[in-house]
């Protein structure tokens, strides 16, 4: 262990810079190695003629934002949450929470 604090700090900085380079390298290598998965997702989109990613499934305007109605609120099943700011002020009524959505 080096006795000078400055030496220790420089070692710490060099390690951090090396790790950031490693991070960039890992990102680059991951992109090459996940090419197959990406190709498979593209193939699914093409074969099934899909227009959206399956990221959120709680409301249809979030599941298919591309095909959603233009600014039509409360258009889904009763447990769906609004994604407009006003929706966050109005919680789900308690009698609806007893359903399977919890």
């Amino acid at each position: 262990m080096p006795s000078r604090m400055s030496t220790r700090f420089v070692i710490f900085l060099v390690t951090c810079v090396a790790l950031v380079w490693g991070m960039l390298l890992h990102a680059h290598m991951s992109r090459s190695s996940t090419g197959h998965a990406l190709q498979e997702r593209r193939e699914v989109i093409r074969r099934f003629q899909l227009s959206d990613l399956c990221l959120f499934t709680d409301a249809r305007y979030i599941r298919h934002p591309v095909a959603a109605d233009l600014h039509t609120p409360f258009q889904d099943y009763p447990l769906s949450m609004e994604h407009f700011p006003s929706g966050s002020l109005m919680p789900v009524p308690p009698h609806l929470r007893r359903g399977g959505g919890e």
Binding site: R42, C54, V66
Partner: protein
């Protein structure tokens, strides 16, 4: 060499000085690291998701045509296909049958799709991994669907889609046309929407204009708009999260500003003593520069390294509850890391520079005053 040795000595002194106030400085580094971690996590996550959407959706339909009734998406008559086919430049028009099914047994929302060339056997379905995970009757491999008249339709899971495609089809159920129509009493001669292929992609906007002219109750959606929607959605989300984070960042800046601008009496006395011992004003400024640099560089590197691990190794564990929301079906996917030197340098200039500069200014004021006055104050 002498310059390097001088700076090493100043750095040694700075580090010892920081170590004397260990508790205060360590908590500052911790808060600073947390702020960098949050900003970097949001940046990495939204950028990777946006890039993924852009790449995958390159193979989305060139154009979709919906029908709107009273401002809402409605079923489109198949006869519209003949009108669209007449437009010069349209290569093919196909209809899509799809819809949603809310499963009250588990609270999940499924997307049901008919694709006769992929699956046409009645009584069986092909499902996404998310659906397979959420169904209650895993042993039988059968899902009961409540039809429009209240009776039940039992469909057997024939195949589960691959894990690699989960981001595209986690909640998807491929169903035969006969079962789909039986389930919803779907009228003949109608489709959910239409999908178009054109000969020349440059003609897409012209064809879309012609469609709205010939069929005014329709809404064409171009592939370019699909990609743009995702770009906007993730930017908005990223933007919203950054707005939320702004509170944390501002609180941090107040803390940093307080520390940087208001030198404590002890620190002023230290500067006075150093000047009394023969330190030049520049040496004092170098010391303060190193003090800011040590804290901000440590926090910056620790913050971005933790953020990278968080987003790409733990699948954004901290963001998961917010992203899942009320969804019962959530795709299990790992984002492909997309980071660049540009992103890292932006984060660097946003986080390291302001703190380092803010540390030097008050020190310069204290260092230019007569040491005797500073020590007596």
């Amino acid at each position: 060499m002498r310059v390097i040795e001088k700076h090493r000595n100043i750095l040694d002194f700075t580090l010892s000085s920081l170590a004397r106030r260990k508790g205060k400085n360590l908590s500052l580094v911790f808060v600073y690291t947390f702020v960098v971690f949050l900003i970097a996590s949001v940046t990495f996550f939204t950028h990777s998701l946006k890039t993924e959407a852009e790449v995958i959706l390159r193979d989305a339909p060139e154009m979709m045509v919906q029908r709107l009734v009273a401002g809402r998406h409605d079923l489109i008559p198949m006869s519209y296909m003949d009108t669209i086919r007449q437009i010069r430049g349209v290569q093919s028009v196909t209809s899509r049958l799809w819809g949603y099914y809310f499963d009250p047994t588990n609270g999940a929302n499924y997307t049901l799709l008919v694709k006769p060339e992929e699956h046409s056997t009645s009584g069986t379905i092909l499902v996404g991994r998310g659906v397979a995970r959420s169904v209650r009757s895993k042993q039988t491999g059968t899902i009961p669907f409540k039809t429009y008249d209240g009776s039940y339709l039992f469909l057997r899971i024939k195949e589960v889609f691959t894990a690699e495609s989960e981001l595209a089809n986690a909640d998807l159920i491929l169903i035969s046309e006969a079962d789909f129509k039986r389930l919803f009493a779907y009228p003949d001669g109608y489709a959910t929407d239409l999908v178009l292929h054109v000969r020349n992609a440059n003609e897409l906007p012209t064809i879309a204009t012609k469609i709205t002219h010939l069929l005014p109750d329709t809404r064409p959606i171009l592939r370019e708009e699909i990609v743009r929607t995702y770009d906007a959605v993730f930017s908005w989300r990223g933007g919203l999260v950054i707005v939320v984070l702004l509170g944390v960042v501002l609180a941090f800046f107040i803390l940093a500003w307080e520390k940087a601008t208001g030198l404590s009496a002890e620190e002023r006395r230290e500067i006075g003593i150093l000047k009394g011992l023969g330190w030049e004003t520049t040496d004092v400024l170098f010391m303060k520069f190193w003090e800011g640099a040590v804290i901000s560089l440590s926090a910056f590197f620790l913050g971005i390294l933790c953020a990278y691990g968080h987003v790409f190794f733990t699948s954004s564990m901290l963001f998961e509850p917010a992203l899942k929301g009320w969804s019962v079906i959530y795709p299990d996917f790992r984002l492909t890391p997309v980071i660049s030197a540009y992103q890292i340098s932006t984060l660097f200039f946003l986080t390291v520079l302001p703190y380092t500069v803010a540390t030097i200014v008050p020190a310069w004021r204290a260092a230019t005053v007569d040491p005797d006055t500073v020590m007596r104050a």
